[in-house]
């Protein structure tokens, strides 16, 4: 018997019981949609968190710091050595120290963190000026939102203003630590930029200010590899120098591990729905088999071969699985898109940043649709085997 004929008869049988077929397909599609919806939520949240932690470029950059904070060992020699390693595309040092900030015409001051670095560091660390620019020479600085709040200034008024800094250079970052701590008091600078970061109060200054004051040891470095593939090797080389590395990829891996587990848990909930639907499908197919016992007897009496009887019944369950899979994936994806659209609408109305919390990788969608076919096969296998084993005469006499 031709496969086309078998499929057509299977379709007609299903179409002949429209309500039953639609309910069975709905059951499977709800199961599949549950898996798609819940696991897509898992994927979406993972992407959301991962993107918050690191963007694509961050995977080629890692931080290097000294093993012992009291004994900083990253100096220009270390920087030169690391720069000399193969596949290093950039090395940028940074030093964070304590300081005090006050307006040029005021005597009251506020504690602040002073971050000293070169332009290459700002780029690697993605430090940007929300307004104005980053400091480029030893008389310029940039401040963040928290400083503005402390000083009672606004973004419009701060740029171009003169402020005074007390810079406390600890012994550890000085070329010769024995010479002890150095305090630079009341140095006057021009604010050339502002960043909307509102973490701790921070002042961004060019590294040259420290270099000019005999401080050529660095709190940490950002090292950029030519590609993600070289990060592992470079980290090993640098750790062999007695330094410590910190890579955003490690955090992302941990996040991914947590979310893998989260997805499995979500998927398991969806799977429960699918199992219930599968039992329903199995039940429907078995009832359909019993109802059509005489029909099977007829097919066999007319000479239908066992393998064609098997194919006919299996086709029906596979069609149910196929339709349920396609519909389920569509429902699951559309439900996720609907919720994302609602979030976008809410974000637009409230002026908040839009987030996307559903992500359905196509391979996962295809895999789940495939799972639906497998369910179709499993639920159809037993009724098909029963149909094959039926004696045609007993089947014809079945009441």
């Amino acid at each position: 018997m031709r496969l086309y004929t078998i499929l057509k008869i299977a379709m007609k049988n299903l179409w002949g019981h429209k309500s039953r077929t639609m309910l069975t397909v709905s059951g499977v599609s709800i199961g599949i949609a549950s898996i798609i919806f819940l696991v897509s939520l898992g994927y979406g949240l993972e992407s959301l968190v991962t993107n918050q932690v690191a963007n694509f470029n961050a995977f080629t950059v890692f931080d290097v710091s000294s093993a012992n904070i009291k004994n900083i060992s990253i100096d220009n020699a270390a920087v030169s050595k690391i720069t000399g390693f193969a596949h290093v595309s950039n090395v940028a040092p940074v030093t964070s120290i304590a300081g005090r900030i006050k307006k040029a015409d005021s005597s009251s001051n506020s504690e602040t963190v002073i971050v000293a670095a070169d332009a290459s560091y700002w780029k690697l660390a993605e430090v940007m000026a929300t307004e104005g620019s980053l400091p480029t020479n030893a008389s310029e600085i940039m401040v963040n939102q928290s400083i503005l709040t402390l000083m009672g200034e606004s973004a419009d008024t701060i740029i171009g203003k003169k402020i005074k800094l007390d810079i406390i250079i600890p012994a550890e970052v000085r070329t010769n630590p024995v010479s002890g701590l150095k305090l630079i008091e009341n140095s006057e600078f021009t604010v050339v930029g502002y960043s909307d970061s509102n973490k701790a109060p921070m002042v961004f200054i060019p590294m040259d200010i420290l270099r000019l004051n005999d401080a050529a040891k660095y709190s940490s470095l950002k090292v950029k590899a030519e590609s993600k593939d070289f990060v592992f090797l470079l980290r090993q080389q640098i750790e062999n120098m007695g330094l410590v590395t910190d890579y955003v990829g490690d955090t992302v891996s941990e996040i991914q591990q947590v979310f893998s587990l989260f997805r499995v848990i979500l998927g398991a909930f969806g799977l429960i729905a699918l199992i219930v639907a599968s039992i329903g499908t199995f039940n429907t197919l078995t009832i359909s088999l019993l109802e059509r016992t005489r029909e099977i007897g007829l097919f066999k009496a007319l000479g239908m071969r066992n393998r064609d009887v098997y194919k006919l019944f299996l086709s029906e369950s596979l069609i149910i699985g196929f339709l349920g899979g396609i519909l389920g994936v569509a429902i699951g994806v559309l439900a996720g898109m609907g919720i994302d659209a609602l979030i976008a609408l809410y974000a637009q109305r409230s002026g908040a940043e839009n987030i996307v919390i559903f992500d359905t990788p196509w391979i996962f969608a295809a895999g789940t649709a495939g799972l639906s076919l497998v369910i179709g096969f499993i639920t159809g296998w037993y009724p098909s085997r029963r149909a094959v084993k039926m004696n045609p005469l007993d089947a014809l006499r079945y009441e």
């Binding site: 018997m1 031709r2 004929t5 007829l298």
Partner: protein, 245 residues
């Protein structure tokens, strides 16, 4: 013109084990030859083995012993799948109650033996429509068989039995559930198939009124064929059957 035996049944026995070493013999040493031109009518009381004999002839049942040759092919030696193919190609069957694939239309049901045999749908449809035309039922082609009367269904069943141009048409009580008019139409069709289309007909019936149609008359009792010379037993069975009817 020499007689050509299309079916040769030799020493056919069928028995069922009932457990506790009990055995029921359904067919006992049946020997029968049916010619290609025969309209063979098999009569006998209920449970005498008529239908079982038919089922053996079409290969739906396997004998305990003996052989059935159809144009030289011993169908008892064929494998299940081979018997299915042989049945699909060489036999047309009409039952007392017509069986249908309910989701399919009249022409699709008629075309089933061809579709099962691997015909393309377009070709099978054409042949099925011709077959329906032959019994003047082509106007019902697209209807569901389930909405037709018993007589109409039986005639459609006949069209299905003819569609694969079989050597032999097997009819198991084809008029059992029909009113006289419908039954006459069915019998008329079978007669024409035998006379005009030269098909072998093997019909099982309770109705002795059809005996005059027979070119070969077979009377069965207790799983055996009553020998042609045993007129007393034949008359007794026929009287019993008349009493039933």
């Amino acid at each position: 013109m020499p007689h050509e035996a299309i079916i040769k049944i030799k020493n056919l026995c069928k028995s069922y084990e009932l457990g506790d070493d009990k055995k029921v013999d359904i067919l006992k040493d049946v020997n029968l030859e049916i010619d290609a031109t025969d309209f063979c009518v098999i009569v006998g009381p209920s449970g005498c083995g008529k239908s079982t004999l038919l089922h053996h002839i079409v290969g739906l049942e396997i004998p305990t012993s003996g052989s059935i040759k159809v144009r030289g092919t011993n169908i008892t030696k064929l494998k299940t799948e081979e018997r299915s193919i042989f049945r699909a190609q060489k036999f047309g069957m009409v039952y007392q109650t017509p069986y249908w694939a309910k989701a399919l239309s009249v022409w699709e049901n008629v075309a089933l033996p061809l579709l099962i045999d691997g015909y393309k749908e377009r070709d099978a449809k054409q042949i099925a429509l011709n077959s329906l035309r032959e019994i003047e039922m082509d106007g019902y082609a697209d209807k569901s068989p389930m909405v037709l009367s018993g007589g109409e269904q039986q005639r459609i069943g006949l069209a299905r039995a003819l569609v694969n141009n079989p050597w032999i048409i097997i009819a198991d009580e084809p008029t059992g559930n029909l009113d006289t008019h419908s039954a006459n139409l069915v019998i008329e069709t079978l007669k024409n198939l035998n006379k005009k289309s030269k098909r072998t007909i093997i019909m099982v019936t309770h109705n002795l009124a059809y005996l005059p149609l027979a070119t070969r008359e077979v009377t069965m009792k207790d799983g055996q064929i009553v020998s042609s010379g045993d007129e007393a037993v034949k008359r007794q069975i026929q009287n019993e059957l008349r009493g039933v009817i």
